[in-house]
Symmetry: D2
Subunit: 277 residues, 4 copies
């Protein structure tokens, strides 16, 4: 059966987690009480074939389900923040992109998370406290079926104009393993591949197509029925938690908090919560 | 594997559709181009054991998916209306109850449908056109986990006060067959059984507990993962269509239209759409 | 001009704040850096005529606008909690009621706030941590126009069943003074009077009609146009802040936090935020 | 008092509706039973000064309130469609832009209406029925405060890419006259001026800045308090109908229906409702 997943970690584990770089990729695991971080590095074409994902880094942070603890005070936000800091350029404007369809619950993660990002780009010419903040812009481009325009085309126009030093995308992902829904975050510098998530996006958003580094953050919110039955006629069915509405809201809050903390190092967490909710 | 479904039609078909009344139930099928109506009548305890559902009628109308045609003009609304007219008392106030949790997409069918029912009970003492309309009240009681009160307890208080000649409940159902999501309606006079839908409701709402006839309308919106895997730890996962948000909205519109038409026979469909949206 | 307001403090101030009890009411003011508390006590019929509100206590807490500080850490939640503790019975189940129409932004305060109350009544028979929590039930009864049933009638049935030691109602209020929108809370033990808020509720919910103490919490979210123009034809217009959507969400969070803190004294604020969001 | 309105018709009527072209503008009125159309043409700089709006056409259609009739069957949709047909180029791709903030009720008209536009641009290369449809793209760019990017800048990038023959914008407007809320539509070929609506947009979207004709459709949903009191501190207050939520939904449906009808002349109204809801 042709298993569909957006998580590199699921492709590695299905290959018994070889870690010696022999197959063109390496896999490193770090664990604390609160979370487990797996860094998969695909080094070359051999690795691309072995894993089935493009060259680059895939960092997975696994933690307690988003729905359990209200304030994420066990260090997991900081764990994600730390990984982001390694990938996000130290300087220059950042464009944060919420991928997916805001009107479909399981696909609304990106739009919802971006609505909680502190957009500051328009404030740079103003006086006062905020002028020292990093220049950040956010955009919710919608999906092809709604707009009639490829998301990558919309982004290219915006990138040319605001010339960010990097793009951060946020998206709902499809996983293969039922245990990963709602307790996993994947960060990658390889961009967003076609056909990801529950939609059917087509053109890749990555460094090659955008001209600047693309850091993609995703949370698995659904499992494609294709992973459970290979009957074509069920391709429009998905598996989700009963409390998917709550999961999406909490995951959006989590991701936006981690991004805001990594972009606005001079603000306290309380300041960020105050400004962004 | 212990298959979970709220649809009587799925329990019969799995028993090869015996139709002779020998097992304590009968099954009658009527088909047109646009829809297929199955009436299962459970006659006695033998039938209750065979089907696993209480004595009474289970009417299933199968049709084109709710998402396809905008205005339901192919006669299917009238097909459901016709079945409702057989069950709803000709006179007396009607209480329409939207079961389920408004804040969980797949469980919001009942609340959403009731919000489109034309409530008239408070208008009966007023002058003008509306005073000849049937007395109808609607209520969205919420779910036990949100309110801390059993839904049946909330309803009992309201029933005592407004003394309806019947209760109509609307609820999201769980099905077993992937093909039935979003294109099936079940109507029954047996009430709503505990544990139905995706929530975990516990006390039955039926003629015995309410003191008046209870007509229950439901649409399968999810399939319990228990029907696909019997691993206990996945009991909080469900299978839904990708476009569940649209499906719920359309099914709510469909059901409310059929109920409004059966309760307000002197109003035209256009009037009802004008008043209820 | 016949000024319409739900805030007792506005009726007193328009009478130049007489404080000697001579007119049948007294008015006491306490101020801190973060908020100002005004306690108006209407003692007798003379006071009722002077103020135009029934006998009892009206406590107003004025503070910084809800939209400004993210986490309400300046003591104002505790200020409201303190006032609630004086009015809420020490023991017995509590019924929290979210008045208003969930589908009208400016009237959704009550429903939204109740959705954040920790309902525990159904957990009392269960083992574990939660069994020592106070018995709390929540209900969102809807409005007359939607349900066809008077809210007070719905509540009476529920009160008979769960026999609370008190009812707490939450409702959006109409104010007269443009400065009070979004930065004022009124708490009263006199119940909710007919025609309050932006809806047109008719039957009073108070100790006389319910049989148990009724503590009503409200936040002014609108100003009736009748306070600005007395032209009848504009009676369906209201004045609100541009950011009314944010205001309602924040006020609901504030009120639910204050109620949860006053009802669950053994839980920390962090626990409550974790459980209720 | 400095009256603020987005409706040209209100500026003319306050100048006693001079109609002779002497002041640099003309005003033509057509009435039927169901609606009243006013066409104001500002001819030159004299007219610009007299009216306070840029040169071009301002067409106002006044009708019954959006909230009353369910299906808009009295010809008013066709009245708006007819005016649009005069302004929209016969050929070439069309970009429909939903201005305003989706998360603020009174400002959500544009985003909501665009979500009901039939986007076809991505279907042009596909086979079948839809390939003969006009090429239409839709976009909801968000507002400056959310995105950090000027809306006009976002649009410029998209315009360069899809090269539309015209842009249609949809936006919530501010009116001066309480009677115009929810029963008026303005169509203009002059673009959207800075500071319109309830937001604070700054850069004009018009033929000069975009390079293609811009047809702007708006519905007054609010009145600025500045029209009632000139106290600066109330500049963040607005007057709206109590049922603003319903009004916005209905107006969005109305506008999208009129636009879809004018862009897809080969589709029936029923087809459009079926495809767009």
């Amino acid at each position: 059966m042709n298993v569909r997943t957006d998580l590199a970690v699921e492709l590695v584990s299905s290959k018994q987690n070889k870690n010696d770089g022999h197959d063109g990729y390496t896999c490193e695991i770090r664990e604390t009480d609160a979370y487990k971080t797996t860094v998969i590095t695909v080094d070359n074409e051999t690795g691309e074939k072995a894993i089935g994902k493009p060259k680059g880094q895939y960092i997975t942070v696994e933690m307690a389900p988003f729905g359990v603890d209200g304030e994420f005070t066990d260090g997991r936000v900081e764990a994600v923040e730390k990984e982001l800091l390694k990938l996000i350029p130290k300087e220059g404007p950042i464009l944060v992109v919420g991928l997916g369809n805001r009107d479909i619950t399981a696909d609304a993660l990106g739009p919802l998370a971006v609505s909680k990002i502190l957009a500051t780009r328009h404030l740079k010419s103003e006086k006062g406290l905020l002028k020292n903040l990093r220049e950040v812009a956010g955009i919710i481009p919608g999906v092809l079926g709604q707009t009639g325009i490829e998301v990558s085309d919309i982004l290219k126009g915006i990138v040319e104009m605001i010339k960010p030093s990097a793009i951060i995308t946020i998206d709902a992902l499809a996983a293969r393993d039922l245990d990963r829904l709602g307790c996993t975050i994947q960060i990658t510098d390889t961009g967003v591949s076609p056909g990801s998530g529950i939609g059917n996006r087509r053109k890749t958003i990555n460094k090659e197509t955008m001209g600047v580094p693309v850091i993609s953050i995703g949370v698995p919110t659904v499992i494609a029925m294709a992973n459970i039955t290979d009957d074509e006629k069920y391709s429009n069915l998905i598996v989700t938690p009963k409390d998917i509405d709550l999961l999406i809201e909490r995951a959006a809050r989590f991701i936006s908090l981690a991004i805001n903390k990594s972009l606005f190092r001079t603000l306290s967490t309380d300041d960020i919560i105050g400004l962004c909710g």
